[in-house]
Amino acid sequence: MLLTALILMPLLFAGIVAFAPARNARGMALLGTTLALALGAFVCSQFDWGYADKHQFGAAEPFVWFPALGLNLSLGVDSVALMLVLLTVLLGPICVLCSWTAITQRVRTYYSWLLVLQAAMTGVFCARDVIFFYICFEFTLIPMFILISLYGSTNRRKAAIKFFLFTFTGSVIALAGLIYVAWYATTTSGGRFQGWTFDIGALESAARTMSLRQQSIVLLALMAGFAVKVPLFPVHTWLPLAHTEAPTAGSVILAGVLLKLGTYALYRFVLPFVPEAVVEYAPFIGVLCIIGILYGGLICWVQTDVKKLVAYSSVAHLGFCVLGLFALNNTGITGSILYMINHGLSTGALFLLIGMVYERYHTRSMKELGGLASKMPVWATFMVFFTMASVGLPGLNGFVSEFLCLLGAFQASSAWGSGLWGSLGLQPGATPGDYGPWFAAVAGVGMIVAAMYLLYMVGRMVWGPLVEPRSHAHHAHGAEDPNALPRDLTPREIGLLIPIAALCIGLGIYPKPVLDALQPPVSRTIAHYEQLRNSPRLTPTAPAEHASAQDGEGAP
Amino acid sequence: MSDLLTLAQSGYPAPIAGVTLAHYLFVSAAMFVLGLIGFLTRRNLIIMFLCTELMFQAAGIALVAFGRYHLNFHGQTFVIFILTVAAAEAAMALALVVLLFRRKESLNAEAWQDLKG
């Protein structure tokens, strides 16, 4: 019931905003998102942390939607989903507030779609039914499409279409994979048709009995959809464009939550559904992540559009996140989930800050902007702060997750199968960390690259001699626009950033509650992999024993 | 001709020496191709329709021959349907032709090229 309310609340307010007078639109939107935030906090307080791996708040008798296909509107959150729901509801008011003065045209449309988007995103995290999940997952595209194509900057049409088609194409393939799993589940025992079900839990146990070949195909299909959303290396090109063209709130949501839909789906579906295939292909996915980390990072370094820079940095950051996820061990997955939240906060905040500058100078080019520290010291302080959070400075949130992801990758190879290595003529690690350390080391180079491009950005934008766009400098001497924003941040803008900054510090200094809360669900996910590792089917017994025997002989 | 009448009245086919199914099919194919060529080359709408009727004829011959070959009557039955379609087509198409002719005072099919949409 609580979760239903959490989804319906923004929808309700979307309706109100759509039909209320335009001058009240932003106020109503703020009220709606704030109420959702309060409700989210209430859900969080009601959550039974002792059973964090149970999906809670689901109705005892879920609303039956389409009995013939076994479709239910069943909802429920475990601690992982709850974290992401909280992130979503937190970013809600922030997105409304950051558009406060920036959006002046078609205000009602804007805010109502923003609220619809929030409802859809909440739905994704709360869904316990594959089809409901998928509907919400896809439905996020429509509001986002509208936000980009109506409120974006110059190249917005192309960006919106590309964003929509790219992610849509991918997720249709993922849907095919999910339906295949459901179809498989109808006939698991004894080949008799048992009726359709799309319950995630039921499909999870059914899917695991698939053969490796089937699992691999499903993995491929799911990756095709979710990797686009994440986005992983070769399918990332929609992201920079979409980020660059989207309005500030759109960028914040895109970086903060929408990308997490992909990683969350990887966590929710790929890992539990097709473990054997994941074990086989995790190294391959890891390689893609690493390519994304380095490639994305280096591309950042040569950008002149600051928003594009941060967008490409998302490609690199999400590479860390997925790398941790596919490390298939507790540290890696914990780190990865934490990364989802942290990236949402720090990159979201960076987009906010860039949006604030854009609102003042109407340019994002680092050639036209520089040394803003002398004009906007408060902005500069926050900019440096969030850059450092993004770089992964210890004591701030980014570090904890980044380190855990890398540590997970470092220890990963014991969990990985021989699929890729076998084809290269290599044997997977007989001891933990034969190849994982190399993954971690190469990915770790990404930390250096991250420092390179983010400091390059700060060096251009914040430090150095003051550079302002010529047109703007001209304006400054002429008649001041009475509605123009003051040079430095307004209290509203500072108020937006402070909660995020506080969370960044909080999660960096005292991440223990979150880490503890994540353990039960993560352990549950891992348990199957440990089982798999201990089962004879995948253990590379012969080489391992061989190697240890040799060691034993070599010792004396 | 008496032979033929006997044949018609005998109730079942008499043995037809020297003619195989292939003969009929050849005739059918040749007639079809004639109709096709006519359709492709003639520009008069009415003649084009006649050509389609020619192709219908060819199909009818093939159908009846096959029915005869398989010793059933489906082929003949389907000729009835062909007749139906031909009649319907004649009614509709000719009505259209008349309509079109009224518009442009020409039966040239190429005059209506701009109907491509």
């Binding site: 590309k162 399918v235 090109t237 929609w238 280096l298 591309i299 370094w301 040569v302 507790n330 914990t334 040394g371 520290a373 002398s374 010291p377 450092m388 400075l393 210890p394 004591g395 380190f403 855990l404 890398l406 540590l407 470092f410 220890q411 933990p432 960390g433 350390p437 971690a440 080391a441 180079v445 930390m447 250096i448 420092a451 400091l455 060096g459 914040v462 430090w463 150095g464 001699p465 003051l466 200094i509 005292y510 991440p511 223990k512 880490l515 503890d516 994540l518 353990q519 993560v522 352990s523 440990e530 089982q531 201990n534 | 359709f39 492709l40 080359t41 084009m48 099919a109 190429e110 209506w112």
Partner: protein, 712 residues
């Protein structure tokens, strides 16, 4: 082979809970940061931030001192603050339930090493903050707050680094000091060179940090813990095995750990090949150079090696590598230092060089020597920097030794000159009366005492001579000789005050700073205190480290004299040209230092022709291009730029191109496929009935052809 007698490890020291007083240090420093932030928000325009910082840092120093006096260093104390990254999970390994944990708490590990480092970090921090209160006075306002906030944050980070009881908290401090270094180097953020230097420092440090992080991961993977107590308890067993002579029991992974940690240490402590950031870091305000880039932060690498000394002892190659790289860095940077004209840069290169000494000390197994040199160096190098800073402050940023002369004979510069002289004597290793002499001698003696490291010893000895020369080159050029000077072109940091009617203030500023102004009471006091303490520590420490020895004795770096791999058996028989090494070196190093000073005197004082030129200038052309190369820092920056930065830049551009036109191009191609296909086949939609029919017939023909081909 390894024999037992050479491992003189103590039994594991007792570990106890306690020392909560030290928690005051991070608390007070964070309080200082917050207060400075508040001052900035309240637009305070006086020196309040400085005094708050000085007071809180002094309180921190007192807290550390109290802890030392109360707890002593016989035992190791663990002070638990709060849980930081701390979670556990259960798993199953071969059907057995196992429990794993990743524990990195905000807890402090207090042993002699920690206390020693914390004492001089907080002590020097307080003094330098006091110095800075005057030095930075032209910037009172937002910049002043920013400076002291970062300054306090640095002390906080350094405290975490030094007192951490686990590797992750150490890493926090490690990166934290990097951040503060970044912020403070870039303090004059309008100067592009300062911004670039800050960026360079951070990135080069990050390279080192990557190695450190990998080392930490390997430690966790191998030892299953990040806490010192657990890790060192396990190294203890390896050491026991070493005593038995079982070299083979130590896995290769464990031997790899110190090599990775070493990478981190070399990044932070500016050793080859990662030293390039430190000279550039002199773009920061001088107090920063003194505290961070001379006395404390750069010794973090040395601290790391000392802290993880047990791990280094387990590796065959780690300590020799440390020693060799240290020696080469010492020599290499000394050669650069000889050819520089910017006095702050000379000091920077001498810092790099002295850090090399410290690593050598650790590498040749005198961790006490290393720590001792860190300790003495912290005082005299801070003093040197502060003296240089006073000059820079007084002469509007003038740092070129060719444009300054006879400063010591000017009014109000006495204290500065004396302090400078004391610092130079220490750095040059003037015999007996300087603490620098004693600490340097300890390292040299140990290097020669071991036959395997005698080559290192010779390099160090040569470097000692060079050091004495370039140190006194500065002194003779700048502080004595004819009084002549040229003002610098900087107006107190090139940092306009925060109100921002920027350019207009330039011209008047020029006029007001046309004459040098002598340092005030704060600077003089600090210089005096440091100069006195540089002498005062001699009695406590001259004999084999003395007090420092007792501090190290109970710490993780305690394996003094233990020759795990470096020339084990014959250790005791190492000699200096047939004499007993330690004794001989006391004489020889003194002589070498004196020779260096005399040469400097002959070239730069006795041979002084004008303020700008000296006998050295006449001699230089005879050496061919070498002085020019040295002046250009052996073109190392250009080399890196050419070999790493440029290719990476080109590669990035190539990637960007690929991303835009190939990866995205393929996507666009897929997107454009429908419309392209439509364009291609649109002509067939002619509206000609005949052509449609012909296509139909042709299609039918093709279909039949396929049927025929397939059927046959």
């Amino acid at each position: 082979m390894l024999s037992q007698e050479h491992i003189t490890g103590h039994a594991a020291t007792a570990i106890d809970e306690g020392g909560m007083l030290t928690m005051l240090v991070p608390a007070l420093t964070i309080l200082a940061v917050v207060l400075c932030g508040l001052f900035a928000a309240m637009r305070v325009k006086n020196k309040a931030p400085a005094f708050v910082t000085v007071a809180l840092l002094a309180a921190s120093f007192v807290a550390v001192l109290m802890t030392y006096l109360n707890l002593g260093v016989e035992k190791t104390w663990i002070a638990h603050g709060f849980d930081w990254i701390n979670f556990s999970w259960s798993g199953s390994e071969n059907r057995k339930l196992t429990t794993h944990a990743l524990i990195a708490n905000f807890s402090f590990y207090l042993d002699g090493l920690t206390i020693l480092w914390m004492l001089f970090v907080t002590g020097l921090g307080t003094l330098i903050a006091l110095y800075a209160s005057e030095y930075m006075s032209h910037d009172v306002g937002a910049g002043y707050c920013r400076f002291f906030a970062a300054f306090s944050l640095f002390v906080f980070s350094m405290a975490c680094l030094v007192m951490a009881d686990n590797f992750l908290l150490l890493y926090l401090g490690w990166e934290g000091v990097g951040l503060c270094s970044y912020l403070l180097i870039g303090y004059f953020y309008k100067k592009p060179s300062a911004v670039a230097a800050a960026k360079k420092a951070f990135i080069v440090n990050r390279i080192g940090d990557l190695f450190l992080a990998l080392g930490i991961m390997l430690i966790y993977t191998h030892f299953g813990s990040l806490e010192y107590t657990t890790v060192f308890a396990q190294t203890e067993t390896y050491i026991e095995a070493l005593k038995e002579g079982n070299l083979e029991v130590i896995p290769a992974t464990v031997q790899l750990i110190p090599l990775l940690l070493m990478g981190g240490a070399f990044g932070k402590s500016a050793q080859l090949p990662l030293y390039v950031w430190l000279p550039d870091a002199m773009e920061g305000p001088t107090p920063v150079s003194a505290l961070i880039h001379a006395a404390t932060m750069v010794t973090a690498g040395v601290f790391l090696v000392a802290r993880t000394y047990p791990l280094f002892l387990l590796s065959e190659h780690a300590l020799p590598a440390v020693a060799w790289i240290g020696a080469l860095t010492a020599f290499f940077s000394a050669t650069i230092g000889m050819a520089q004209f910017d006095i702050k840069r000379i000091m920077a290169y001498s810092t790099v060089s002295q850090l090399g000494y410290m690593f050598c000390g650790l590498g040749v197994l005198t961790s006490v020597g290393g720590a001792f040199h860190v300790f003495t160096h912290a005082f005299f190098k801070a003093m040197l920097f502060l003296a240089c800073g006073a000059v820079m402050h007084g002469f509007a940023g003038q740092l070129d030794l060719r444009k300054l002369s006879g400063v010591g004979f000017m009014r109000g510069w006495k204290v500065t000159t004396v302090a400078m002289l004391v610092g130079c004597l220490n750095l040059a290793g003037f015999p007996i009366i300087t603490s620098g002499y004693w600490s340097k001698d300890m390292i040299l003696g140990e290097a020669f005492a071991n036959p395997h490291t005698q080559a290192i010893g010779w390099i160090l000895l040569l470097t000692a001579g060079l050091t004495a020369y370039y140190t006194f080159r500065v002194f003779f050029r700048v502080f004595v000789g004819p009084v002549q000077y040229e003002m610098g072109d900087e107006h107190h940091g090139a940092h306009e005050d925060a109100h921002g009617h920027g350019e207009a203030t330039h011209a008047p500023a020029h006029a007001t700073h046309a004459t040098p102004h002598a340092p005030g009471w704060a600077i003089n006091t600090v210089l005096a205190v440091l100069a006195i303490s540089a002498f005062a520590i001699i009695p406590f420490t001259y004999s084999h480290g003395g007090w420092v020895h007792t501090m190290i004795e109970g710490s993780t770096a305690r394996y003094e004299g233990a020759a795990a791999y470096l020339g084990h058996g014959e250790h005791a028989h190492g000699t200096f040209l047939g004499f007993e090494a330690h004794g001989a070196l006391m004489v020889v190093s003194g002589i070498v230092g004196a020779i260096g000073i005399v040469i400097a005197w002959w070239l730069h004082y006795a041979g002084r022709t004008t303020a700008a030129t000296s006998r050295a200038d006449a001699l230089l052309p005879k050496l061919g291009p070498i002085p020019r190369w040295a002046q250009h820092k052996w073109y190392v920056d250009e080399f890196y730029d050419f070999l790493i930065v440029r290719p990476l830049w080109v590669l990035s551009n190539i990637f960007h191109f690929i991303d835009q036109y190939i990866v995205d191009g393929i996507v666009d191609l897929f997107g454009a496929a429908p419309s392209l296909t439509g364009k291609a086949v649109r002509p067939s939609q002619s509206g000609e009935l005949h052509s449609y029919a012909a296509w139909m017939a042709g299609g039918m023909a093709v279909l039949i052809l396929i049927v025929i081909l397939v059927a046959t």
